[in-house]
Amino acid sequence: MAWSVLKRLAEIAAVLFVVSVGTFALVDLTPGDPAITVLGEGHTAEEYAALRDEMGLNDPFLVRYGSWLGSALHGDLGTSLIPPNSDVTERIAAALPVSAEVAVLGLAMALVVSIPLAMWSAYHADGRVDRIVGAGTFGILSVPSFLAGLLIIMVFSNQLGWFPRAEWVRLGESLGDNLHHAFLPALTIALAETAMFTRILRGDLITTLQEDFILAARAKGMSPVRVLFSDALRPSSFSLITLLGISLGRLIGSTVIVEYLFALPGMGTLIIGSADKGDFPMVQGAVLVVALIYVLANALIDLSYGYLDPRIRRAHV
């Protein structure tokens, strides 16, 4: 048991190592000169060279990587190349909660809606509700998220005026205001996720509902709701959980469209904006943090398989 936990940790470390090397190598691989980014155009070649030297860009790759990683491990991801040259760690610390909150909220909304929906659809497979749900989820999945976001803004913000748009209130400032502002972006995210979750879970539930143990549970006189929640849901949720982990990582790192639509100061905006300006330390730091979250989320998912199925427990953890 202790051994497999160690193995798991070693795996995580290995993945993070590869990701960090990859992101760090971006500086060397992408066009653009950090010295020009810092000084701007119109300086002499000597001035650029001197700055490169000062920034350590002329050192061998391993030396540069080593010192960056060393600082990163101490929580120091460097400073931005762009004035006001803010601290990368601080900027990430400001952006991450925004993305994380919207992502978690959106996924929670998606789960709350999709689980009962999938249960109803699966229990009455090919019934009327099932067919409507099937067509509806298919329709939602074929709508690009920027369009869905625009529609949501038009209806709930412009027409009905229920929710504000294009502002962000920090969680610490006011919980009510914060949720009020987070709702529409979360809803935009939740839409496509709900459709996906519902379809995946419905399929797995239909398979599970054919199992003898479902018949046995019903033969004991358990109510359909009880059978669905107590007997069918857990064995049917492997694909859902896997998808959930992937979605969590993806949503935290790359919900650029939603963040853009709602002017959220989140991770997606930070990464794209910095990449656009050639702000390498910012990009490196942000990508590393997103990768870390991705890896941790998936490790958590792996652990949850053991919770879902006791037969895996011995093999895994």
């Binding site: 143990f213 009880r226 857990r234 064995p235």
Partner: protein, 383 residues
């Protein structure tokens, strides 16, 4: 995918290990099945999985139902319970009365109440009948708490008692184990305990031993017999293996292609089958005097397609006694025709006949079968 299981048990017809038939004249039978039909709607058409079955069962009695794979035994068992698999649509007609209550007319909630307290079911494969992600304890306690209204502690105590009743050692420890930590035989004991949780009057055991190995098979069947003696419930014992039913059932119904083709007291049926299909089934059972693993006389051919069954007798294509009239008119389930009257002349669907076998005083001897040219009963005893 018909399979045959060799059992080490002998042909013990006549030796009753269980079942006390109490033909209490005047008392209504525990179970009445009246012209039951189950059509499963498949993409190919409507499959007549159960096609006009009538039978009765008294309290404490054991009825064996035998027949080849696909003959509709499981569908019959489930239709008797009113338990349908989700995802497939089917149409049921006819009546099932359990203790006078019309199962198919009950509301969904009332039917669940019946399942919880009146009728229990034991499934074929203990590997799949238990939820792999739930502990043994929860399997037992949830219905105790739901239908029995027991507290958490009381339900746990009762669950432990049930496990002890079905012969599981260290019951307290088992409650916290998962199904995969138990052997097949132990799991089937748990499935039985589950079915017994709320003391049903009727237990439907659908091939309770088919998935188990030979030594365990006998243990489980003996357990069912012992439990029946102790708890006094009626049992429907479904099997495609006559050996399983021999010596354990009071009466035996032989099913072919969705219908009962012969129903009689077990001893009489085994001693002298009247329906050619019963005879063929008996011939395919391993006997004591056969050398081990000798080839058995299997029944040639395959059961008919139940979406479009052939006209006339459904067994005709495989029957060695078949004559021209067999392919014309369907034989009707009924008693031995008296002189001058053949069963083929009688209209109806066998309802009356089945009732005769179930509730006639001294009904154990009554035998019904559906055949135009039945097997001659053996008069001179041959060894």
């Amino acid at each position: 995918m018909s399979q045959r299981h060799h059992t080490s048990g002998h042909h013990t017809s006549g030796h009753h290990t269980s079942g006390h038939r109490a033909p209490d004249a005047g008392r209504a039978p525990l179970l009445v099945v009246d012209d039951l039909r189950t059509e499963i709607h498949t993409p190919r058409g409507d499959m007549k999985a159960v096609d006009g079955v009538s039978l009765t069962l008294d309290a404490g009695e054991t009825l064996g139902i035998v027949g080849e794979s696909g003959s509709g035994k499981s569908v019959l068992g489930r239709t008797i319970m009113g338990l349908y698999t989700t995802g497939s649509t089917m149409t049921v007609s006819g009546r099932v009365l359990v203790d006078g209550a019309d199962v198919h007319a009950l509301t969904a909630a009332a039917r669940r109440e019946l399942w919880g307290t009146g009728v229990g079911m034991v499934f074929q494969d203990p590997m799949t009948a238990l939820n792999p992600v739930k502990k043994i304890g929860l399997h037992l306690t949830e219905s105790l708490r739901g239908h029995g209204g027991l507290s958490r502690a009381a339900a746990r105590a009762r669950a432990e008692e049930l496990l002890r009743l079905v012969g599981i050692p260290e019951p307290a420890r088992r409650l916290d184990q998962y199904p995969h930590e138990l052997s097949g035989g132990m799991r089937q004991r748990v499935v039985i305990a589950m079915a017994l949780a709320n003391s049903p009057k009727l237990l439907i055991a659908d091939e309770p031993t088919t998935a188990l190995d030979v030594t365990v098979q006998k243990q489980i069947l003996d357990l069912l017999g012992r439990l029946q003696d102790e708890l006094g419930m009626a049992i429907i014992l479904v099997s495609h293996n006559l050996q399983v039913v021999a010596g354990r059932a009071d009466r035996v119904a032989v099913m072919y292609a969705g219908r009962i083709v012969e129903l009689a007291a077990a001893d009489a049926l085994f001693a002298a089958p009247r329906h050619p299909y019963t005879e063929a089934l008996l011939a395919s059972v391993p006997r004591l005097h056969h050398p081990p693993h000798s080839r058995l006389e299997a029944i040639g051919g395959a059961p008919p397609d139940m979406v479009a069954p052939p006209p006339g007798c459904r067994f005709a294509p495989r029957c060695r006694y078949a004559r021209e009239d067999c392919r014309q008119a369907s034989p009707v389930l009924g008693p031995e025709p008296g002189p001058g009257g053949g069963p083929e002349n009688g209209p109806g669907n066998g309802r009356e006949a089945a009732r005769v076998s179930g509730s006639e005083p001294g009904g154990e001897g009554a035998r019904v079968f559906a055949c135009h040219h039945p097997v001659r009963p053996v008069t001179a005893g041959g060894s």
